[in-house]
Symmetry: C2
Subunit: 352 residues, 2 copies
DNA sequence: GATTAGCACTCTCGATGCGAGAGTGCTAAA
DNA sequence: TTTAGCACTCTCGCATCGAGAGTGCTAATC
């Protein structure tokens, strides 16, 4: 692989990504003002084809990159992937607009990504792998009315109101909660269920309730998967035909996308960016799509995913820049949230 | 409008809805084994066309219904719209599968609707027009750690943890909450903000917090709009072409759909079903779509919307049946929730 | 007066053919 | 090693054409 070939490969791929049309030797030479003749380019292209980086759709068409070509491009030929400053400012501005809840930040992130890249974007809210019990408090409000405050590792708090059949004083409640705290700390929802379900009386029932609540929260979070900007992909010329559009919608609306994203995210650390090109042979429906994915959050505590889905012919540098930037912003937010919301609301109040 | 014409119109529309192809006189007579000749049918069809209920796409094609035709069909020619029993059972079964939270019920409803009708489905969670303050409690947990329990009219409960700069005992807190309760009962979030923002000290800050929380909840609920089954619409032959598919996705994914649904829902009481055919001239993007919509919930308290979106050529009887049935189920659920969750969790606990 | 048979006419749709254009591969010369 | 030239290939858009389906009208029939 000579240097010249690298350069040519890079230019061919860039040109194809931009124009969307097979690039032929003649137009190529003219377009970039090269000092080589079309024939030379033809030879080099033939060599690159031999190596597996380019193909033709048919005899008399220009060259287009293969999956392998794109991969080489992303790994070796990508220059600066920093998101251009004006875009950075625009995005930052949108994120500073409003105080939102965590979930809404995630939605904002998807919207922003979809909009700036003009591709489809996906994201999941940050979550711990499986939430673990930290402690609970039982607070007597009335004679039979009790407030259950459940605190999970990582700082999430969930409250439930309970009514007992018979009144119970704060002291007995505290004893009960101490017992539960001692037994359950560090366990997951289902572990708590397994451990306490058989117990008799209030303890067993409380265990059941806590377990169900935790499992429910996990399930609900696991379901949350935001997508936006589907239309952008459908507008690409390669998916112009009706049947293809339908299939694309099917892939992007349905569960395949979730599978692919989750699988691709497996080896991904917080902050790094992963590029999946053309389904990598594992997902047929994804053969013409690429995915630029990043994990954000706080390593070891809670993390979420966000990324961009587009046709293989995607401006990878820009997409990578955008994803990395938004991922960084979201990580900052999660960090801030962790610092600020550990059990307490960050409202500063002074007595009058 | 003679009886015979009504019958013919009905059959033509049913046939077109089923087959998706213009119906011609000859095939029509044979298909239904009528005792009339093709020529007679031709005359009647010409008359129906004169009246505005049918058209042809071109000279030598069969007839297809106009918007007006569909409307007449829905208003006068629809027979039994009860959802067939097997489907009822299947749906009921799915709803009895799991105990879920209200939001998840809504998602289930969309999924079920989309699946049984094989069209796109939409729904919003039930909500009061704007949530109104009922009362709050301030509970001292530690010296500076306070739990704020905010109860809204309709029974929704929201808790927040606060830290004060200086400790404050339960008695002062109770005085404070009594004052707030007296001032704010029945007000909306923004009204509370307007009223208490100017107050000095803790009262003003608390008011601000409560106001923000309520406004936030309303906004978040107002944003929730679930859709599913987009692909079903795209699979219809009338949207086979690429550009049309793209536009359809645009319409269904974007904000237009929300606008249309909200406008169509305006005059809709809980339990009744509204059919909007072809955008009724008000929404151009909706010209080839129809909407079958219902409001569910508890009249005057909280209600949500759910419905089915499909091509104009939609099996209205089936869609209406499905929407009405699911709407009824959801109303029951909301009712149950209201009875069960007024401030307290419906867990029955007995002391050991 | 309503219904029907017959017939000429219209329009779509798919198949076929053709020419322009773009691009390649190969060979021979620089 | 690079370049110019040339024959060859393949796509794409356009026009043509015939089959098929359906209509509208007229005149005959019940």
């Amino acid at each position: 692989m000579t240097l010249r070939r690298q350069a040519i490969l890079g230019l061919v791929i860039r040109s194809y990504i931009e124009k969307g049309q097979p690039v032929g030797s003649k137009a190529f030479v003219e377009g970039y003002g090269l000092e080589l003749s079309a024939a030379t380019i033809r030879n080099e292209m033939a060599a690159l084809e031999e190596m597996g980086y380019l193909t033709h759709p048919h005899t008399s068409a220009g060259r287009i990159p293969t999956e392998q070509g794109y991969r080489y491009f992303v790994e070796h030929l990508l220059g600066d992937t920093e998101l251009p400053l004006p875009e950075q400012l625009k995005i930052r501005h949108q994120f500073h607009q409003a105080r939102l809840e965590l979930d809404q930040w995630v939605r904002l992130a998807v919207a922003v990504l979809a909009h700036t890249t003009r591709k489809a974007a996906v994201a999941t809210p940050p979550r711990a792998r499986e939430s673990k019990f930290k402690h609970l408090e039982l607070i007597s409000l009335h004679d039979t009315l009790v407030l259950l405050v459940l605190v999970l590792q990582g700082g999430t708090v969930k409250q439930e109101m309970l009514t007992l059949d018979q009144p119970m004083d704060q002291e007995s409640l505290s004893r009960l909660s101490n017992q539960l705290n001692a037994e359950c700390v560090g366990l997951t929802g289902s572990q708590i269920g397994a451990r306490l379900a058989a117990r008799s009386g209030l303890l067993g029932q409380l265990g059941e309730l806590v377990s169900q609540t935790m499992i429910n929260m996990d399930a609900r979070e696991a379901n949350a998967f935001y997508r936006e900007g589907l239309v952008h992909i459908l507008s690409e010329p390669e998916f112009a035909e009706g049947e293809q559009v339908r299939q694309m919608v099917q892939t992007l609306e349905g569960p395949t996308l979730v599978d692919v994203v989750m699988a691709a995210a497996e080896p991904l650390d917080v902050g790094s960016v992963q590029v999946l090109i053309g389904g990598e042979g594992r997902w047929r429906e994804f053969a013409e799509l690429s995915l630029v994915l990043s994990r954000y959050g706080v390593e070891g505590r809670a993390s979420g995913l966000l990324g961009v889905v587009g046709p293989i012919r995607m401006p990878y540098d820009y997409a990578i820049g955008a994803v990395r930037y938004v991922s960084q912003l979201m990580s900052d937010l999660v960090n801030e949230w962790y610092v600020g919301h550990q059990l307490e609301n960050r409202v500063r109040m002074s007595r009058s």
